[in-house]
Amino acid sequence: MGLGRLFTSHPVAARVVSLGLFFLVWEIAGRVPISYAFPTFLDTFYAFGAMLLDGSLFVAYGSTLQPLIIGIVISAVVGVGLGIVMGLSRKAEWLVAPLFIVLQSAPMAALIPLITFVYGIGLLAKTLAVIMLALPVIVLNGYKAVRNANPSLVAMCRSFQGTRMQQITKIIIPDASPVIFAGLRLGLAAGFIGVILAELLITPTGIGDLITYHRSVANYAEMYAAVVSIILVSTLTLAALEAFEIRVLRPEKKRG
């Protein structure tokens, strides 16, 4: 419990200790080595540095992030719109919600290889993979958020003779925005999975190519660096999005 107290007073300490322990175990496992194909942490770290310096990481991320961003933007616009419509209209809910419930809990990964047959291997195919995985969760979150907007706030707005439009723009959407935003974050996480799957399964480009290529030529340190980098990038992106959400969407949470 002494450790617990240290961590409580210094939350950063916990993370540093936790990360440090992990890297140490990795380094040791790599030195044993548990496998010829398992690089040490330091090798991986150097490989990461080298890939940064020779620019291959930047090129790869350029190719990976482009479809991701396009796909997320499309999913966000379509998904939030559709979610709000479903939240407001029982008929739309009835027709569309079950479809997305199925898509959300289904292993869409199985369908990704099909994309190539119709949409080839270009940007379009990767963007589509992102949308396939990201859209359902964004739609469903938007829909649930709107459907569950605080009824007492809605009644308050009605009692002050707010119009339906005012109700939607001034109460329902602001009230739903944190959940909608959480949906966008989940959608982004799913989008990362989608673009990686597309690059691993159908079109080895970007970061997926770095992984497969370095594996095929046995540059395991580079391969691991690529894998770690994508996890790092997605984690940091999601954290940044969350920080943005708190700062911009919910001023009241900033101080409290």
């Binding site: 007492s152 009644a155 009605r158 002050f160 003779q161 001023p251």
Partner: protein, 266 residues
């Protein structure tokens, strides 16, 4: 120090004196009969309390008057005009405050005016007046989560005052406020009633609170709810709060109501 006079339902008042008339209201929630043939008059400028056992339909009746809930049959008239929905002459104060968490106290108080399309400067000056009236000057730029329960309810009250409705509908406004603050708030409310000269319709669970603040108390029976009794506590409101609370009339009225409600309690 006079004894309370229990007047029987339907005692006629001078027409212009009645702000709100409730006529033959019945309300079913699918199979559940919540209200059965409610007929009531709410005199202008008075505070009338609806009191009754839990789940008897007090909130339902208040929302029907507010135009937020449709009655199954019957009609509500405000100033002689039938109610078809929420209207500018009525304002609701919600039990859970219904404050927008993303908006400051200022924006919350001015919200009714914002919905009406009033310009920012004008509505803020009105809001500022009522914020000061409920004693929250200095808190304009705070967010609801930075306030205590009692302060939040004051914001809800100021918002209702700001739209300058004649009839204020309050659904258990103090139930989320702790005991000692609640007592303070009751005293403040009496002053506001005095000052604002509006028609208040008030729902509470607390007998003492009802007797302490009301001009008239409507006792509702268990579901399906009907008007069981109407009591007009004759209490000298000019006396100090302390004196009121040990007024024999006050104590008798509390006791009378308690005896009437006791058998509803499980």
């Amino acid at each position: 120090m006079t004894a309370p006079s229990a007047s029987i339902l339907g005692v006629p008042h001078a027409e212009s004196d009645i702000a709100v008339e409730v006529r033959s209201i019945c309300k079913y929630y699918s199979e559940v009969e919540a209200l059965r043939m409610i007929d009531l008059d709410f005199p202008r400028g008075k505070l009338t309390t609806l009191l009754g056992p839990s789940g008897c339909g007090k909130t339902t009746l208040l929302k029907i008057i507010a135009g937020l809930v449709e009655p199954t049959s019957g009609e509500v008239r405000v100033n002689g005009k039938a109610v078809t929905g929420p209207g500018p002459e009525r304002a609701f104060v919600f039990q859970d405050f219904a404050l927008m968490p993303w908006a400051t106290v200022m924006r919350n108080v001015a919200f009714g005016l914002e919905l009406k399309g009033m310009g920012k400067a004008e509505r803020q000056s009105i809001a500022r007046h009522y914020i000061s009236e409920v004693g929250l000057t200095g808190f304009e730029e705070k967010y609801p989560h930075e306030l205590s329960g009692g302060m939040r309810q004051r914001v809800g009250l100021a918002r209702a005052f700001a739209v300058d409705a004649e009839v204020l509908l309050l659904d258990e406004p103090f139930s989320a406020v702790d005991e000692q603050n609640r007592r303070k708030f009751q005293e403040d409310l009496l002053q506001l009633v005095e000052k604002e000269r509006k028609t208040f319709i008030f729902v509470t669970h607390s007998i003492e609170e009802a007797v302490y603040v009301s001009d008239r108390i409507v006792l509702l029976s268990r579901r399906p709810s009907r008007v069981a009794q109407i009591i007009e506590p004759k209490i000298d409101r000019t006396a100090s709060p302390d004196a009121i609370r040990r007024d024999q009339g006050y104590l008798d009225t509390v006791e009378e109501i308690w005896q009437g409600l006791k058998h509803y309690v499980d």
